[in-house]
Assembly symmetry: C2
Homo-oligomer: 616 residues x 2
């Protein structure tokens, strides 16, 4: 049961299920309503006027709204729940909210879950014997917080207050009073946003007062020593008695090293980092928390946890402020994780105001695929294998100095290489984006046919320029094509091309299953968004030529960068956006491919390359 809600004065429309609060529906649309308590009904600031529709008066309403205003339709939007279609007027925000531009053109109003509240308390006397803690809680209640605290705060309390004339700064994470600091420390307020990738981990220290990124670094995941992909990591936990704790320690070590660099370069102390938002795939986050990932890896593929969780960072050995909190985002399924949810948040895929259909693909050893719009969304994961990462490719390598990352074949048969680190470098291998480019160009040049077969030398004589023909080789009985000069001798074999076909075919089949299920075609797509570093380096035209993405105009194929990391930052800077992210799974249907008979049929079809004549 969904109801239509129309917001004034913006005149924006949305549909939300029975029971949704007006506050959440507005947040979902990116409309800012004043609030300090984050929708907990305690600050009284989120008043809206219900112009039409049912909105019974609630307890909290009576506390903050006069009888006359109640009669006029004013309600606390965080308590007002939809039971009918309605029209709601949102008052102009008091003051200018700070905002930051993040993600894929995403305008985020700063409203971090961490807030520092400076308190100037009255000192107790015989006529005012309120306890220290109650005194602090009372002051926080005036700021709209229904505070909870823990022994670490209690223990410090008596001395801290008395040594500082009862002036202190409360560090609130949501309603948790996690620390009291002497005097006024509001200026020092930071968070840690992390994209914990299987291969690469990106961390950023964010200024929670300004939204500024104070420092950002990436590191290879130190778990890599136990295998390149999630399956080998899970295997390690199954084979070795200490495997799980070993891998957990490696995650923490990676984050710790990142923090060492980030704090050194920014001069920010770990003690002033009060919250971390960490996204990653389900296996990475399970390992981070020391949770057995084995059932993720075998049918029926069940994570221990898909919901977003909050814990003390110290509980997993992550050294920030001793009471700092750590939050994750939800997973959609075993193989579409919180990193993708973060990407969906950063790209606004599920709540785009234009209502257009978008396809988001994150290409890796698993291709995560999300197809949808505000009207409905499907997601799935397709097992691509490691070809895009350069593994199982004869001269494949990671995207680092000396790797071929782009290729162009001229009409005259000249092969022009683009090499990471500069074209003056001697090429030493081929990166994923180079592989896609190479195969696409070879297909366009006729070196490879639509089925993926390398041309026979005898056929080449008639069909290819000499410059290309002389690059055809046979190595140990396997046909190959030399990409570099003979001295460097970087080649692509028939087997390499087959590996790429399997990888792209799997992703393309996943896309096709979702498009079939949604009953749409490439023509209905507004954009194809390529996420992740692979997505940033890949040539959109080549991706389209080999059929990795559906046939849309090249301008419609957009690299969105590290959308997972952007989503983590957004969730750190705005608890409303975080709440929206946490609700993303409600709006998405997860499609499990391994159970579906038609997947294999479609996969067989998508192994081939699409006809070249579509290019013109």
């Amino acid at each position: 049961m969904k109801y239509e809600i129309r917001f004034l004065p913006s005149d924006l429309l949305t549909n939300a299920p029975e029971g949704t609060t007006i506050f959440n529906a507005a947040n979902w649309m990116g409309l800012a309503i004043d609030s300090t308590c984050g929708g907990r009904g305690t600050c009284g600031k989120c008043k809206v006027r219900v112009v039409s529709g049912v909105a019974p008066i609630r307890e909290a309403d009576r506390k903050f709204i006069s009888e006359a205003d109640l009669a006029d339709g004013w309600r606390l939007s965080c308590r007002a729940v939809l039971h009918s279609d309605c029209v709601v007027e949102i008052p102009r925000l008091m003051g200018n909210p700070k905002a930051a531009l993040l993600g894929y053109g995403h305008h985020v109003i700063l409203n971090p879950n961490v807030a520092k509240v400076y308190l100037e308390l009255t000192e107790p006397n015989l006529d005012d014997q309120v306890s220290d803690l109650q005194r602090v809680h009372n002051a926080l209640a005036q700021e709209g917080y229904d505070a909870h605290s823990n022994p670490s705060v209690w223990r410090a309390l008596p001395k801290l207050l008395r040594a500082n004339d009862f002036r202190a700064t409360a560090v609130m994470v949501g309603d948790e009073l996690i620390a009291l600091e002497p005097g006024n420390t509001r200026e020092k307020n930071y968070g840690f946003a992390v994209d914990l990738g299987t291969t690469t981990v990106v961390g950023a220290i964010i200024n929670l007062n300004s939204g500024a990124v104070e420092a950002v670094k990436s590191e290879l995941n130190r778990q890599a020593a136990f295998g390149a992909d999630v399956i080998s990591r899970v295997s390690h936990t199954m084979m070795e008695p200490d495997g799980l704790s070993e891998l957990q320690a490696r995650s923490i070590q990676t984050l710790d090293d990142l923090l060492d660099q980030l704090t050194a370069s920014s001069g920010i102390a770990r003690e002033n980092i009060y919250e971390a938002v960490i996204v990653g795939n389900a296996t990475m986050l399970h390992l981070l928390m020391g949770i057995d990932p084995e059932p993720i890896s075998v049918a029926p593929f069940i994570p221990a946890i898909t919901q977003p969780v909050t814990l003390r960072a110290a509980d997993i050995g992550l050294r920030l402020h001793p009471e700092a909190r750590l939050a994750t985002l939800p997973h959609l399924g075993a193989y579409v994780g919180a990193d993708i949810v973060a990407g969906i948040l950063a790209t606004d895929l599920t709540r785009n105001k234009d209502g257009q259909l978008r396809l988001l693909i994150d290409v890796g050893t698993n291709g995560e695929i999300v197809l949808g719009s505000v009207h409905g969304t499907l997601a799935t994961a397709a097992p691509a294998g490691p070809a895009f990462e350069g593994a199982q490719i004869k001269h494949g390598m990671r995207a680092s100095d000396g790797a071929i990352e782009g290729i162009q074949i001229t009409a005259e048969g000249q092969v022009i290489l683009q090499i990471i680190g500069g074209n003056h470098l001697k090429p030493i291998g081929i990166a994923g984006s180079g592989l896609v480019d190479a195969v696409a160009e070879m297909y366009r040049a006729g070196v490879v046919d639509a089925s993926g077969r390398l041309i026979q030398v005898e056929d080449a004589r008639a069909k290819l320029p000499d410059a290309l023909r002389e690059r055809l080789l046979t190595i140990d009985g396997v046909r190959a094509f030399r990409l570099s000069d003979p001295a460097s001798n970087i080649v692509l074999t028939q087997q390499d091309i087959r590996a790429l076909q399997f990888a792209k075919g799997s992703i393309a089949a996943g896309v096709a299953v979702l498009m079939q299920q949604m009953n749409v075609t490439a023509k209905d797509l507004h954009q194809v968004l390529l996420a992740g570093s692979f997505g940033s380096y890949i040539n959109p035209a080549s991706a389209r030529t080999i059929g990795l993405v559906p046939w849309v105009a090249v301008e419609q194929i957009v690299a969105v960068g590290n959308s997972a990391g952007e989503g983590a930052k957004i969730a750190l800077l705005s608890f409303r956006e975080r709440e929206a992210a946490n609700r993303i799974p409600e709006f998405i249907e997860y499609v499990e491919l391994s159970g579906r008979a038609e997947f294999n049929d479609i996969f067989m079809e998508t192994l081939a390359f699409p006809p070249l004549d579509a290019e013109s």
Copy 2:
């Protein structure tokens, strides 16, 4: 602003402030309303019918109550808040609730905060990929729990479910899922109730399924090495850098020793104890939690915490189940602590259905005094000094073997002693109750006059039988009276009598201040309740004779035993009673004596003994 609420069919009346839920008002009166979620609005079982009065329909009501029943006035009592006088019909309980008799004739319906829920989950498959945790939470939601859990549960989850065919027992403490145990372990469900006294610590293991006390033990508080009273303990924390952690460790050591004995005698494992309720005075509970007690001990006497708190027992080093919770009750002030609140709970002083006025006195180095009824209550603490504990008395001693605990003086002047351990023992000193008895009997026999002065030997000749006269001595120039035979030579000096007068005068003055403030006299008192071990041993007639308690009939003076410990048990066995206890401070006005000019005047008056002719 208070409203009158009338409960049907019992026809009981109470007044409750605006904003109180009907559920809480009923609990407060001891009326049982069905509930498994404890008033969190999630189980839907606490339906009542509002016969008259205002009760707006709330979100949760719509979830659990049909339109027809809503129209008929049915509401969830935990969501229905008072905005007017009202009449409410409570339906008969489904099934027979278990109950236990605890405290001072207190009938407690078992509803512990700890609940074990046996779960038989369906196993996941490709069509049901719900995560392990969500699967558990969904099953708990069906039982009315909106469960929260923590990493310790998550880490165990995948292996535990798969090793036990997805059958497990959830251990809930409130809404916290603190543990999952393999298979069905509902039978093993225990709690730990503690009265953490300055001198004596009493602990009991309680069966939370049956309410039975499985084992009970008392131990001397191992902090005693650092002083007998709270002031010397606080001094130790101020003088020694490690004093606070030393005293905390001693509290834990005391509880640990108790647990060793309790688990040995009952055969119950610590791992099956899931919650502790610990009461004690503010200083004892601050020390237990490692919180600096110094500001409690100096004006204006401010505890760090007076509100009830909940923490992990492991956070203070108490070894029960690793995730067991520990709850305290609130303090009324620096010197009327959670032990007294527990005593008020156990004696029903603030919510007695008879509406009668009662006076509760806990005599120790501080005398805690509570005067009131359901119509209003005052509390205070009077500094009695250590006389009742046998300190600063020449032959004073603790109540142990060889101590004189009772005395009778016959008309012929014979002094009959009652000795702890048997009257055949040689008396070696005098306990607090013996001191009260001795002075009362000496006053009745004319050995001491109303001002507390020992009779002069020359006056005694005319007024006392020979047998008494020959017991009058002078020791180092100080008059004294020999209680024992000359061989044992246990004496009471003039100074001892003065010390007793100061102690009882202080308490009597505290009582007088409260009675004055409430504008009542001894005639208005229904009962005088004496709490604690001293209260159990003291002779009510003697207490009255020396003016320690107001002049009521001896039958009206009742020893209520360890009411603090009983209150802790009640709070452990019923979260509703615990909620009632947590609200007790709202109903009590704490009277600080140290700020009051009239206290000293009254104290001067109460030093003397009341006229003997009142006795007849």
